[in-house]
């Protein structure tokens, strides 16, 4: 039995490498090494699994490994940085599906299973299926293959309740009669359906929450699969991922001042609020005049949002940053936790444009610096800078922490039109005395400013 012992020791080593890797991921300087450490952990676990005596035939394993590696490498290499949220969602979905299949295959594997094991099989099917279809819908929404706004219909809660009830009933039936595969198939179908139903009522701007939550589910699905096949490393790794996903979800919810239930069930963003008219005048500005103001500025804060990703403006922004710095002006970036479509989305885009990470300032810190800022440039962000969240108690986004750009001496808002943001709320910021609207494509506008500088 020394073989089995060695394999289990290898799993312990793999777990240690995952833990250490995650720890290194906690700081920008060591993060890349952390990822490599974690990948080595995975390699150790996979090699150990392959050496297991239980494995008799290798031909299908090789087929699966080669096909998966090919697709994974291709996906990871070819995807554009702006398409990262949907790619991560898709990878996540595949992991979930794998857990579903592992649970399913377990039925055909070793006979004689206890009720506890059957329950964990059911759980890995449920979580895996839900992660898969949920992630695919999230991918569809993010890549705009399907409409990204929230889809709600009357009786949605009732339908979801019925699906949940069905899942409970079929799980119970399956545990009592594991040999009757009708229950198993019903459970698989309902789990897949539940994933779809859970994500369609969630709108595009709430995607950071959904992606983190699905990430957590995929970990928990692996965990359940670990119980089903009695494997410790699946439980440890799955639990680590589950916990990290839950933490991120929590951070995202806090950044929107909404509870998780509100995000998951309210269909926020599908309803247009009537809202009262806000008094004031829109003061437009062209790039040439904007340049004159920027040239005199000593401190500039850039506040990016999803619009920067859409316009692919990050490289132009970086160029502007360099010109401003050459002009003896301090530039930094104020990043709202939920700006963009996944946690940390803006940071990745700016990093792609080679912006130093110590210039990316978190929300709490930037608000205290804002009064000393000469120009705050809002690029494609709307709700995260909406002062209504602080001032208008009746506003649907009231209470959401914002980046308070209106405290800066001058605010530039780069925007296509006066259309309201995702939340459908008017933004009084646009009508402030110190706000100048620069209409047009964000990238075009920034490029024009750069030209003026040169």
């Amino acid at each position: 039995m020394t073989g089995a012992l060695l394999i289990n020791l290898a799993y312990v080593l793999a777990a240690a490498l995952f833990i250490f890797g995650l720890k290194l991921l906690g700081s920008p300087a060591s993060a890349r090494r952390g990822n490599v450490v974690s990948a080595v952990g995975m390699l150790v676990a996979v090699v150990a699994a392959l050496l297991d005596q239980g494995i008799l035939e290798f031909q299908w394993i090789v087929v699966g490994l080669v096909a998966g590696t090919f697709a994974g490498v291709l996906g990871a290499r070819l995807v554009a940085m702006t398409k990262m949220p949907e790619m991560v969602a898709l990878f996540n979905g595949f992991g979930g599906m794998a857990s579903l299949l592992v649970g399913w295959a377990e039925i055909y594997g070793v006979g004689q299973t206890s009720t506890f094991e059957l329950l964990t099989v059911a759980l890995s099917i449920l979580l895996g299926g839900l992660t898969f279809t949920g992630s695919v819908v999230a991918w569809g929404k993010l890549s705009e293959v399907m409409v990204s706004r929230a889809l709600v219909f009357t009786g949605q809660q009732v339908v979801n309740g019925a699906i949940l009830l069905g899942i409970v009933v079929f799980t119970a039936l399956f545990c009592m009669e594991p040999d009757n595969h009708t229950w198993l198939y019903a459970l698989i179908m309902l789990s897949l359906l539940f994933g779809v139903m859970a994500v369609i009522p969630i709108g595009g701007a709430d995607m950071p929450v959904v992606i983190s939550l699905l990430n957590s589910y995929s970990g928990l699905a692996a965990c359940a699969a670990g119980f089903a096949v009695d494997n410790m490393i699946l439980i440890v790794a799955g639990a680590l991922v589950g916990a990290s996903g839950i933490i991120l979800t929590n951070i995202m919810c806090k950044a929107m001042n909404r509870s998780l239930t509100n995000v998951l069930f309210s269909g926020f963003g599908s309803v247009k609020s009537g809202g009262e008219k806000i008094e004031g005048e829109v003061l437009p500005l062209d790039a040439k005049d904007a340049y004159l103001i920027l040239e005199a500025a000593r401190s500039v804060a850039v506040v990016p949002g999803y619009g920067m990703a859409v316009a692919q403006a990050q490289h132009a922004v970086k160029e502007l940053q360099e010109l401003l710095e050459a002009n003896d002006c301090e530039v930094f970036y104020g990043i709202h936790p939920v700006a963009g479509r996944m946690p940390g989305h803006m940071n990745v885009l700016l990093a792609e444009a080679d912006v130093s990470y110590d210039l990316m300032v978190e929300m709490d810190e930037i608000n205290s610096r804002m009064p000393t800022v000469d120009v705050a440039i809002v690029i494609g962000a709307n709700d995260v800078v909406n002062p209504a969240a602080k001032e208008t108690e009746r506003s649907p986004i009231y209470g959401m922490p914002i980046i308070d750009v209106s405290l800066a001496r001058t605010v530039f808002v780069l925007k296509r039109s006066m259309a309201s943001g995702f939340a459908g709320v008017d933004n009084p910021l646009f009508l402030r005395e110190n706000t100048r609207m620069i209409f047009g494509d964000a990238k075009e506008t920034v490029v024009q400013m750069i030209r003026e500088f040169q």
Binding site: F18, I19, L22, K23, S27, R32, N35, S38, M42, A45, A48, A49, L50, I55, L65, A67, G68, T69, A71, G72, A76, V88, F91, F94, G95, A98, L101, W104, A105, E106, Y108, G109, G219, A222, A225, F227, V229, D230, M232, L234, I235, V236, G238, G242, A243, S244, I246, I247, L248, I251, P343, G344, H345, N347, V348, A351, D354, S356, Y357, L359
Partner: protein, 96 residues
């Protein structure tokens, strides 16, 4: 293994996960997510056993599919994370 021991391991791992992730700065949220996402592909280990265990046909088919999907998750996840992290740089002289 005894289920109770496995549940015990689960509990410890969850607490450990919370401790590890709690202090990650928001700059790294995306790589953290995709990196931990790659770890969730650990289900590959179980998939290998189903695919090559010499069980019934159905188990082999399901297992092989699971191996392929989990491998996409693992390989794609780690590579994409590495690609992102390679971009996170601190430019000299940029900070005060």
């Amino acid at each position: 293994m005894d289920s109770v021991y496995l549940i015990f391991i689960l509990m410890i791992s969850i607490f450990l996960g919370f401790e590890l992730i709690n202090k990650v700065p928001s700059t790294l949220h995306t790589p953290l997510m995709s990196g931990s996402n790659a770890i969730s592909g650990i289900t590959l280990v179980a998939a290998l056993a189903s695919s090559g265990g010499g069980y019934d046909h159905m188990a082999t088919i399901l297992g092989t599919l699971a191996v392929a999907l989990a491998t996409i998750n693992v390989v794609g996840g780690y590579l994409v994370t590495d690609r992102m992290l390679a971009m996170f740089r601190k430019t000299k002289g940029a900070s005060k």
